[in-house]
Amino acid sequence: MEAAIREVLAAHGRLPVDAHTLGEEDDLAEAGLTSHALVNVMLALEEEFDLEFPESVLREKSTFQSIGSIADVIRDLTASQAAS
């Protein structure tokens, strides 16, 4: 999953650094992810993982902090959607 997130960041994150060099816990804002690019990243992640981030998840600033935090949120969402 982390590899797929990295591909989305590389394609839509408009980062000044190569997304493939980012560590799982590296802060994406510090790496140059703007709020504008983040919107595109969110939409691309929804398409990639066939899910919709609810408002409660978008509200949490920690959701899109790092590749690792995005992966955690997506795992939670996929698990809860599978359960329902």
Partner: protein, 392 residues
């Protein structure tokens, strides 16, 4: 704004803000407004009157020597000034916005001490958020905070620093370090003693002429604790975006109110000459009031919502969207109101030498859409709405 005049030494209570603002607006700003507009000059008498009345620290907490006012209270103060001189009101709005950023995010000993000075010495703060080659994109910087043995050095080519030549300090956006990404920004307090400003151009515009928003090459030095200790992105979201749109909203509401006042006076004067007749202007005035009251409700509601929010509480996407919508809405409404007033006052409103002249309001009102361009704000909202899932 340090002056030679008598400075109010006991802190004002926020309850005094509105009556004193109204008095200064009517006695000082109203008299100077025509000259300020004609010569595109700084409204020094109005800003000095606010300084002498001890009101430039309106948003500074009481414990730090300020008035501890809310954004609604400051908004009403700005509104009352804007009815007489929109440029003066805009300067005060921008100053209060900088103070709000320091109050809410300036948690270092040096910045706290400076806030006390803002209240005690009645200092005027300006802002440099735009940059040559970056344009009006608030969330990108090219210049960077460069560490030096004694603190930092910062150089910025700013296409606009409103009233920069008259300010005691400028809050400047820059990249965190020379190696930081263009979006990894901080906000830096640059005080006039350690800052030089070389003017790059003149401010000669259609309206809002007294804001003296010339471009400057800024060179500053300071200690590292003059850098606000949180990312600029957080300051924008929690303070700069909402407070700027709210206070600008009050400025343009004041311009609209001034035009409504002229239209109403015109209709009433006309009605006196034609007793018993239903004049077309009277009907148009009734329609104009619909637009004005909608604008007023939108501005005051946004201020109340902001004041009701706990500091530090996270702003949802829909809140940023609604503050952006407020700015665009106010810019549409103010022009609509002034245009309708022109339709009511007719040639008397069009003339520059009549008691019903509307020319300055019309010119100032056009600033609302182009100063921080609506196109950019609409684009931001178009983007944000793609991930806004809040129930309406």
């Amino acid at each position: 704004m340090t002056t030679n005049g008598q400075i109010q030494t006991t802190p004002r209570s926020s309850a005094e803000l509105l009556p004193l603002s109204r008095q200064i607006a009517q006695e000082v700003a109203a008299r100077a407004a025509g000259d300020v507009d004609k010569h595109a000059r700084f409204p020094s008498e109005t800003i000095e009157a606010f300084s002498e009345a001890g009101l430039l620290g309106a948003l500074v907490p009481i414990a730090m020597g300020g008035c501890g006012a809310t954004i609604s209270e400051v908004g009403e103060s700005v509104f009352t000034v804007a009815q007489q001189c929109a440029s003066s009101a805009m300067i005060l709005a921008m100053h209060h916005l900088q103070v709000a950023c320091l109050v809410r995010h300036g948690d270092t000993p040096a910045l706290r001490a400076y806030l006390e000075e803002v209240a005690n010495l009645q200092l005027l703060l300006a802002s440099a958020t735009t940059e040559i080659n970056i344009g009006g994109q608030l969330r990108m910087s090219s210049c960077a905070v460069e560490p030096t043995p004694s603190g930092f050095r910062l150089e910025k080519q700013a296409p606009v620093i409103s009233y920069g030549a008259y300010a005691d300090a400028v809050l400047v956006t820059a990249r965190r370090e020379p190696t930081s990404a263009s979006s990894d920004q901080v906000l830096v307090l640059c005080t006039s003693e350690r800052t030089t400003l070389e003017q790059l151009n003149e401010w000669n515009t259609l309206g809002m002429r007294g804001t003296c928003s010339s471009g400057f090459a800024l060179k500053a030095e300071g200690s590292m604790d003059c850098v606000l200790p949180v990312p600029f992105a957080k300051i924008v979201e929690e303070t700069m975006l909402p407070v700027s749109h709210i206070l600008w909203g009050f400025v343009y509401l004041g311009v609209a109110a001034a035009a409504v006042t002229k239209a109403r006076q015109y209709v009433q004067s006309d009605a006196r000459k034609h007793p018993g007749e239903m004049l077309p202007g009277a009907t148009r005035l009734a329609e104009l009031i619909v637009v004005y009251r909608q604008m007023e409700a939108q501005v005051r509601d946004a201020a109340r919502r902001f004041d009701a929010k706990r500091h530090g509480e996270i702003f949802a996407t829909w809140e940023s969207v609604s503050y952006n919508a407020l700015k665009v809405g106010a810019s549409w409404s103010v022009l609509d109101v002034v245009n309708r007033a022109m339709g009511i006052c007719g040639i008397s409103g069009y003339r520059e030498d009549s008691p019903y002249s509307l020319g300055r309001y019309l010119r100032d009102a056009h600033g609302a859409a182009v100063m921080v361009n609506n196109d950019r704000i609409i684009k931001d909202n178009a983007h944000l709405l793609l991930v806004d899932r809040e129930e309406l």
